[in-house]
């Protein structure tokens, strides 16, 4: 792993009291490889390594650490700084209902995450409504209806013959009229380059003014994470990210790429297929995971 590799790099530099440009360039090469292997975007890695290099050169090696450990410490701190020192929670609307809109690529885990979110919020005794706005995927509406039953939350699903923008608008009106605390919109998966479908999302946003637009992203996403996140952010001004399938062994470099490219925080993470609550994002745990 990275710490072993860095120990190796610094073995030849015993007794160095200070980090110099030359003694850290090998170390930074190892860090760069580790980040790329973790799927952090190439350009994000470049910027990150430059920043670490600036912070490292001239730094004192603390008495208790080896130079390798010192570099790791700086890298770790920089990663945490980049990803946000503390988890940012979901916000609520000043007046109910709070509308959460989940968006993202095909198969990223939106529908499942809607269910998990509904369970969390309903669990706080807040009346929650799930909205089946995916009219394209075969049995998407059935999927959400089943999930609604499993988490004990009502599902608004007029059917695939309706326009998703109207479905969302009507759902929020229902939410207001029937005193729901939260309305969760499950949208269809789509490519960020599909302008017609991205327009649909823009229209939903215009129609219902969501409190949060959450990009649901798969933790195993590779270099493309930046393209996806930047387009969704440019088109919708997302408020945060839900990173799914973190119960696997993907290093999750996409988290760093997305935060770095959009400035938007990962707020919650999906840790399984079952409809257990989403977990808060821990920047420090993510940093360790990415570094491997």
């Amino acid at each position: 792993n990275l710490s072993d590799r860095l120990q190796g790099v610094f073995k030849k530099l015993r007794g160095q009291a200070r980090l110099t440009e030359s003694n850290i360039s090998d170390a930074l090469r190892e860090v760069r490889i580790a980040l790329l292997e973790a799927d952090v975007n190439f350009r994000v890695v470049k910027q990150f390594i430059n920043r670490v290099s600036e912070r490292s050169v001239g730094a004192d090696v603390l008495k208790s650490l080896t130079p390798g450990q010192q570099v790791i410490k700086i890298v770790h701190q920089e990663l945490i700084n980049l990803m946000g020192r503390t988890a940012e929670p979901l916000t609520r609307a000043p007046a109910p209902p709070t509308v959460y809109m989940l968006v993202g690529l095909q198969g990223s885990g939106k529908t499942t995450s809607c269910g998990k979110l509904a369970r969390m919020i309903a669990g706080e005794k807040r009346k929650t409504l799930l909205v089946a706005a995916d009219i394209y995927r075969p049995a998407a509406i059935d999927q959400l209806k089943t999930i609604g039953k499993q988490v004990g939350v009502e599902v608004y699903a007029p059917g695939a013959e309706y326009d998703p923008v109207d479905i969302c608008r009507d759902a929020v009106s229902k939410g207001k009229a029937e005193l729901f605390d939260t309305v969760i919109l499950d949208t269809a998966g789509r490519l960020h380059i599909d302008t017609a479908l991205m327009d649909e999302l823009k229209n939903i946003r215009k129609a219902v003014n969501p409190q949060e637009i959450l990009l649901v992203a798969d933790a195993m996403t590779g270099q493309d994470a930046v393209n996806i996140a930047m387009t969704f952010n440019t088109d919708l001004d997302i408020s945060g990210v839900i990173l799914t399938k973190l119960d696997g062994d993907a290093r999750g470099g996409a988290a760093l790429s997305i935060k770095s490219a959009t400035g938007k925080p990962v707020k919650l993470v999906g840790m399984g297929e079952k409809l257990t609550p989403l977990e808060p994002f821990h920047p420090d745990r993510m940093a360790s995971r990415i570094l491997g």
């Binding site: 292997e37 590779g222 993907a250 297929e273």
Partner: protein
Amino acid sequence: LSGHQTINEDVLDEIEELMILSDLGVETTRIIIDGLREKLARKELHDAEIVRNYIRSEIERILAGHTAQLVRDKSVRPWIIMIVGVNGVGKTTTIAKIARRYREEGCSVLLAAGDTFRAGAIEQLKEWGRRLEVDVIAHDEGADPSAVAWDAVAAAKSRDADILIIDTAGRLHTKTNLMEELKKVQRVIGKNMTGAPHEILLVLDATTGQNAVLQAREFCQTVDVSGICLTKLDGTAKGGIIVSVVQELNIPIKLIGIGERMDDLRDFVAESFSRALFD
């Protein structure tokens, strides 16, 4: 990389960036760049255009050696295909596409709703069955997937189907119990028909990064994967990870998914894939 720019470190950096951005991975990129440096030292490559062609042909060569078509032995009936992969990669949709292809050839196709876990999974495959006008063997949600597989093989035999395609639930390769379940499904299929399943397709998502290699390793250890389908190539991800996957696991890439409709399936072609990598 502009046409006839002379080769220097900046150009090599640019090339490395293109390769990493296409998810080729650190190791594959390093090997190709090292090969490139050797050729440069021997003055065998003069400008960026030639370099670009060299890399493209290198990748094409690797992939061409690991490409195969989806074929079936027509004398073996039912020809049984099992579909596996992690969550959300496009298994169920790929089954619909493969079924459609065989329907176009005039084959009788039967589907098995082997995902008995996920909400709406059985209904999703049944809906595809309706659109394709093929039958779907299904139990209730929560049933034993091996029982569904067994019944599906029996049904395919008794109905004299040409093709049986068995869907399985998405599962992360790190979940030992779920991987054991998959092993059992393969075993049970083989118990009801010697030699079956005749094809086990691993579905990988083109937007996946280095984790695809870990997925492929585990799935190949668990069941006898005979081919790969790489989906979602209609996005902006290049799917370069497939190069490491086929080299390391020595399984052929057979199909690609280029969309969500039943006709969005193509044979994998090394030449067009390598060309698209650096577009």
